[in-house]
Every structure is written in structure tokens, then in C-alpha cells.
């Protein structure tokens, strides 16, 4: 019996290992390709070279697009966190009729396929001259990112006993002061998580950004999309590696910050 269990167990582990390789392999393969010395995607790569990284960091096309996307992501994060947190407070602590319907509607951007959003928004923005502008990008990215904030912050607010805020009021704090001194520190891990999701959602957003990019301002996703379609050079691998490392670093930082915020809130 034990021997059979042992065999089944090893089979299971082998199967899992294979699937995990399937999960990680494509992403990992970008790394060696980014170091390849020639434009030919040869595998295994014949030598190591940093030329693609150098190109990525020096080429104005790449640099501008990256900085533009980072800027949009930063603005989107701020907007979506503020708007989303406000809405969460209003929904969870407020007295709104039709609250459940409203909640469902606010989560719609998560469910509607981005291609539909892309062409609809293009038709809306183009006559107003909003395509390709920072404002246009921030508006639509915020709309797409806010549901993440609302989901996470609402969940945290619901777990918070209302008696804490009532105690604050009773002791003389105004509603705003209550929120600032009591509610916010206690939901800060959730706000942080929402902010990180927003930042990623904006930076990685491909479809809508593709459709409303303009001539002067391109998002990095649009640039990469075009380059992948027409010109598959290893510089894309270098760019991808930089972004994956950046994302992982961001998530790790956020996790650390979240854990220290949770500790500080005495949970």
C-alpha cells in the first residue's frame, strides 16, 4: 500500500513539475534571447551581448514610449485609488438605494472584453481630439483600473467593525477626521493592493491603448505590439525582461509594504 502511494505521489509530483515548467518556460526563455548577440533568434544563443539592452535604454522611440506609459500609469494609479476608495466608502458605509445593482455595474469594466471598449472609446474620443492625449489615456485607464480598487477596498471596509468609526465620532472627531485617523490606516493594506493592481493594469493595458494611441504619444504596449508584428528583433526581449523584473520588484515591494502596514494596524 505504501509503495503504491509512493508511486502515485511521485507521478503526481512529476506531472506538476511538467505543468510548472509549461507555466514558467515561455517567460524564462525571454531572458537568454535578450542576451543574444545577433538579430537572428538562435537557440541556444551563441554568446552574450548587452547590445539589445543598450539599444532599449538609448533609443528615443523605446525610452519615450516607456516614460509615457509610466507617466500614465502613475496618474491612473492616483486617480483610480482616490475615486475607487471614495466609491467604496460610499457603497459600504453609505445608505444608497439599489446598492447591489450599482456594485455590479461598477465591476463591468472587468468583464467586458477590451476590444469592445477599445473601438467604442475610439469612436467617442476621436471627434473630441482625445485620442493620443495624456488626458484620454488617463480617463480610460482609470475607468478600467478602478474596479480592482473598489473590489479590494470594499472587502477590507466590510471587515472593519463600524463601531470603530462610531467610537471616533463619539470622542469628538469629525467624519473626515474619523476617516483619516481611523478608517484609512486600517484599510491601507487594501488601498495599497488596489493601487498596485491599478498601476499594473494601466502599464500592461494593450488593446485600448493600441486603438487610441496617436502619432506623437505611443504607449509602450502599442510600440511593443507593432514591433512584434512587423519586426521581431531581440530588443523586444530586452524590453520584456526589464518589464518583468520591474513588475516582480514592484509586487515584492508592495507585499513588504502591505505586511508592515498590517502589522502597524495591530491586526
Amino acid at each position: 500500500m505504501t509503495k503504491q502511494a509512493g508511486l502515485a505521489e511521485w507521478l503526481f509530483r512529476a506531472l506538476c513539475a511538467l505543468i510548472l515548467v509549461f507555466l514558467m518556460l515561455p517567460t524564462l526563455l525571454i531572458l537568454p534571447v535578450s542576451f543574444s548577440p545577433s538579430t537572428e533568434l538562435a537557440f541556444p544563443p551563441r554568446g552574450l551581448s548587452l547590445r539589445w539592452y543598450q539599444l532599449f535604454f538609448s533609443d528615443p522611440g523605446w525610452v519615450d514610449a516607456t516614460l509615457f506609459s509610466l507617466g500614465i500609469a502613475a496618474l491612473t494609479t492616483v486617480c483610480s485609488t482616490v475615486v475607487g476608495t471614495m466609491a467604496s466608502v460610499g457603497l459600504v458605509r453609505g445608505r444608497l438605494p439599489g446598492r447591489q445593482t450599482l456594485e455590479a455595474l461598477l465591476l463591468a469594466p472587468l468583464i467586458v472584453p477590451h476590444i469592445i471598449v477599445a473601438i467604442a472609446v475610439y469612436l467617442q474620443f476621436a471627434p473630441l481630439g482625445l485620442t493620443g492625449t495624456r488626458l484620454g489615456f488617463v480617463l480610460i485607464h482609470t475607468a478600467l483600473a478602478v474596479p480592482y480598487v473598489v473590489l479590494v477596498v470594499s472587502a477590507a471596509l466590510q471587515r472593519l467593525p463600524p463601531s470603530l468609526e462610531m467610537a471616533g465620532l463619539n470622542l469628538g472627531a469629525s467624519r473626515l477626521r474619523c476617516f483619516w485617523s481611523i478608517t484609512m490606516p486600517l484599510i491601507s493594506p487594501a488601498i495599497l493592493a488596489g493601487a498596485v493592481f491599478s498601476a499594473l493594469a494601466s502599464f500592461d493595458e494593450t488593446v485600448v491603448s493600441f486603438f487610441i494611441s496617436g502619432v506623437e504619444h505611443q504607449t509602450i504596449t502599442r510600440k511593443m505590439f507593432e514591433d512584434i508584428e512587423f519586426n521581431v528583433s531581440p530588443v523586444i526581449a530586452a524590453a520584456s525582461t526589464v518589464f518583468v523584473i520591474g513588475t516582480v520588484a514592484l509586487m515584492w515591494l508592495a507585499d513588504t509594504a502591505k505586511r508592515s502596514a498590517t502589522r502597524r494596524s495591530g491586526a
Binding site: 502515485a8 506538476c16 505543468i19 510548472l20 507555466l23 515561455p26 517567460t27 526563455l29 525571454i30 533568434l41 541556444p44 475615486v83 471614495m86 466609491a87 466608502v89 460610499g90 458605509r93 453609505g94 445608505r95 455595474l105 461598477l106 465591476l107 463591468a108 469594466p109 468583464i111 472584453p113 477590451h114 476590444i115 469592445i116 471598449v117 477599445a118 473601438i119 467604442a120 472609446v121 469612436l123 467617442q124 480617463l139 480610460i140 482609470t142 478602478v146 473590489l151 479590494v152 472587502a155 462610531m166 465620532l169 467624519r175 493592493a193 493592481f197 499594473l200 500592461d204 494593450t206 511593443m224 512584434i228 523586444i236 526581449a237 518589464f243 518583468v244 513588475t247 516582480v248 502591505k258
Partner: protein
């Protein structure tokens, strides 16, 4: 007192003020444009359902819809078969294996679909990784033509969507009280029997949620089919894009969008409770 208001509530005016910015933003950037798009699908080129008729009658477009449904289905099943073992691994008490599994699931999840599709192109190209390896093993072999086929789209989409299958199932498995399988073993069931009689049924809500999530996402997916697929593998999303940008046939694109929307929303709303999106998003 069933009708007692929750204590500590904000007054109505303040609640509305807090929710207003989001409502206005979504109304103007999201609901209004989509509404207009759907409207043009029935008002142009004439006030009729011609666009829809064309979509559902012409064999080319019907094929696209069928292909999309087929790929979404195969994707979902593959993701389920591949994802369940990993979810089971993540729900175990042991620590090292779980940590590795979590990393292997999270990193692809955080990597954009764009980058992952690019990785698949690199793998499957005529001069890509797989062919290079095969060539290295047998210099006389002909390079395989893998990219821009249905198979390529299937593999790449399964890979991209796999984490969305794993997380809900892992969550469901993790919430099974550990005493239940122990009780089954104690009562004489073998490990396999315990799995099928106790663990699997209790994990079904997660399985449904994962399948629904992956299926709905496959339907509307654009990036991967656009990059990894070709003109032979047109799917609903790429068809919409083609109609809108290349052919500038916005009303028709609107009609296709409407069909896609009805499918996605219909499925989601019908099984709303199974989805519980907050579990997937908040899972960190």
C-alpha cells in the same frame, strides 16, 4: 429588528457625493461609448438588423464564431486538466513545493499578455526556439510550421489563462476543512476514493468559477490571437478589430461586439455567484 438601519451609516447625500465621481467617469468613458457603438449596429447603414443577419448567415462569419467557441472550450478544458493538479499542489500543507508553485503561477500572472504572447512567438517561429532545438538535434529536418495556426493560438491562450483557472480552484481547495479528508480515511476510504468522494465535490465551486472565468476571457481575447494567430485563425475579437480598423465598418463591428457582449455578460450574470471576483483579485 429586521429593518433597523446599519448603525454608523453615512447620510444619503454624502454617499451619493462619494460615489458620484466614479459613476460619472464610468458613464462617460465606458457605458456611453459602448451604448453608442451598439446603437450604430442597428441604426447604420440603415435602421435594421442587417448587420446581425450578415453576421449569423454568412458562412465566413459563422465560422469565426464557431471557431472562437471551440477554441474557448478547448482552452477551458485544457486549463482545467493542467490547472487542477497545480491547485491541488498549492492547497497542500507542505511549504517548499507550495512556494515554488505560487511563484510559478504568480509571475506569469503579473506578466502582461503581450509579453507572454511574444514569448510564444519566439518559441514557435520557423526560426524560433523549438525549431532551433530540433535543428540542433537533426540538421536535416524541415522546420515545423507552428505559428499562426489554431494550435498555436490554443497553446498560447491556455498558457496565458491558466493562472485564472488555478487560483479559484486553489482557493476552494484551501477552504475545505482538513478534518474532512481525514475523516474519510479514518472511515476506510483509500486516498483515491477520498479524493473523488470528498475533495473533488467540495472543490467544484472553484472549478466552476475557474471554468467560467477562463471561458469568458477566451471569448473576448484579442492580444494573443492577434499576435500568435494569423488570417486563418480569425476569432471574434480579431474580427472586430479587422472590421473596425481595416474595413472601417463600425456598425458591423458594433454588431459583432454586441453578440460578444451578450455572450460574455450573459454567462457572467447567470453564474454571478460562482465568480466571486474579489477572491481572485485579492488573492496575493
Amino acid at each position: 429588528m429586521a429593518e433597523a438601519p446599519r448603525r454608523g451609516q453615512l447620510p444619503l447625500s454624502l454617499s451619493m457625493l462619494l460615489v458620484a465621481p466614479l459613476v460619472l467617469l464610468l458613464a462617460w468613458t465606458f457605458f456611453l461609448p459602448i451604448g453608442k457603438l451598439l446603437l450604430t449596429s442597428v441604426t447604420e447603414p440603415s435602421f435594421s438588423l442587417d448587420n446581425y443577419r450578415r453576421l449569423l448567415v454568412e458562412p465566413l462569419y459563422r465560422q469565426v464564431i464557431i471557431r472562437t467557441l471551440w477554441i474557448a472550450l478547448v482552452c477551458t478544458v485544457s486549463a482545467l486538466l493542467l490547472g487542477y493538479p497545480i491547485a491541488a499542489l498549492m492547497a497542500r500543507p507542505g511549504r517548499v513545493a507550495v512556494k515554488i508553485a505560487v511563484v510559478c503561477v504568480m509571475i506569469p500572472l503579473w506578466t502582461s499578455a503581450l509579453i507572454r504572447s511574444y514569448a510564444w512567438i519566439m518559441l514557435l517561429q520557423r526560426k524560433g526556439v523549438i525549431n532551433s532545438v530540433l535543428l540542433g538535434l537533426d540538421p536535416a529536418a524541415k522546420p515545423l510550421n507552428m505559428l499562426y495556426t489554431d494550435g498555436a493560438v490554443l497553446m498560447a491562450m491556455t498558457h496565458v489563462l491558466l493562472p485564472f483557472m488555478i487560483l479559484p480552484i486553489a482557493s476552494a481547495l484551501g477552504s475545505i476543512p482538513p478534518d474532512l479528508p481525514r475523516a474519510a480515511l479514518n472511515l476506510g476510504a483509500g486516498r483515491v476514493r477520498t479524493f473523488f468522494a470528498v475533495t473533488l465535490p467540495l472543490s467544484l465551486p472553484g472549478v466552476f468559477a475557474g471554468c467560467l472565468l477562463v471561458f469568458v476571457m477566451s471569448l473576448g481575447f484579442y492580444v494573443t490571437p492577434a499576435l500568435v494567430g494569423g488570417p486563418q485563425t480569425l476569432m471574434i475579437a480579431t474580427l472586430i478589430a479587422e472590421q473596425a480598423t481595416t474595413l472601417l465598418n463600425w456598425p458591423f463591428a458594433g454588431a459583432i461586439s454586441c453578440v460578444l457582449l451578450v455572450l460574455s455578460l450573459g454567462l457572467t450574470v447567470s453564474f454571478k455567484r460562482l465568480l466571486r471576483l474579489e477572491r481572485v483579485v485579492a488573492h496575493d
